[in-house]
Symmetry: C3
Subunit: 159 residues, 3 copies
Amino acid sequence: MGAVADRLVELGLALPAVPAPVGSYVPAIRHGDLVRTTGQLAFRDGALTATGRVGAEVSLEDGVDAARQAALNAIAAVADLLGGVDEIGAVLEVIGYIACTDDFTGHAPVLNGASDLIEQIFGTAGRHIRYNVGVNRLPLGSPVEIGIVASVASPVAGE
Amino acid sequence: MGAVADRLVELGLALPAVPAPVGSYVPAIRHGDLVRTTGQLAFRDGALTATGRVGAEVSLEDGVDAARQAALNAIAAVADLLGGVDEIGAVLEVIGYIACTDDFTGHAPVLNGASDLIEQIFGTAGRHIRYNVGVNRLPLGSPVEIGIVASVASPVAGE
Amino acid sequence: MGAVADRLVELGLALPAVPAPVGSYVPAIRHGDLVRTTGQLAFRDGALTATGRVGAEVSLEDGVDAARQAALNAIAAVADLLGGVDEIGAVLEVIGYIACTDDFTGHAPVLNGASDLIEQIFGTAGRHIRYNVGVNRLPLGSPVEIGIVASVASPVAGE
């Protein structure tokens, strides 16, 4: 195993199977030396970890848990496309949407569930920019939708 | 005509004129071998196909129609920039926002209006990742806002 | 000083210090010849210029002001990463979220606060595509969240 796969073991994490698309799209796509994922919902073992809006039906703690899960699903989508998590060179972007109430203010702690996980797994190669946006309703009632942009570890010459 | 233009004819579709920007921006921009569009509203012949939120003032069927139209507008913006629809190599990303009620769950069928159309037109070159995000209100009350990222068919050497 | 720095002086503008991240991320990241920023909030001198939703607690005028400030913060984040505002070659994308009421329609004037500023500073090199999306609630109650994608003025060979 490579360094990233080792780190997952140390953290007690296993990459999930990539959730099946719920529409006419693919989980991840590569162009040049970058891979971009579809916005991933908080699916775990085939079901959403929670449904509704953070600040109402979903607690802050459950929002953080959902963000971790969606981030894991996004990492899994990239790893699946590239043939392994150690083929990921760096995570450059996290694009996160949080279903929340109209007066919610805890967006940062929720999305840190994703950002902190990525930094734990990838170290300095996991330092990313991000969008953190509250919205009124996500597909299927998922509390979060999170996509990532990653670079490949070994780009071919000329990319 | 090239293969994509032929396919549009087979589907009974014509690319619309690119809607005039409603602010200080351009409809599409190229950098390297990628073209990115502005998020397109559901304009058809100068007017929005519907206004309001899917699940309330806008039916699911009208949401699908709006998504198809916004996707056509986005394809038109890329084709206009490149000098023809056959200059588009592939559609890599669809970024979709759907104005919806707080308890809506039909985001996937609505955005499939865009995704399915792109796959009908471009075939396997139309397989894309996507973001599908519900929001409370889009510009001018458009039910959807959809942008795409496309690659060019014939990148110049070194890109 | 270079041309862009001169233009800032003519406009009576000074780039602010880059706001400290409120989560586990960085303000900007470079990949190849592109720099992407985190979605910037309307921080000015350490505090938000306003809080709430445009159309309710926040006036249209204050929304425009917030958009200008967030755009300045985004430009500052790119300039800080590259070592100066004249290292920015062009601004290619503006991604804007506006916290607004469910019946708001003035998204374009608000985000033009950002777009117009960018064109004033960068001229034709500031012509960009954009996403302009209304949402119910942004982090810390900021009225806007705006990120940009910029190209570097002097890419190294092979990029």
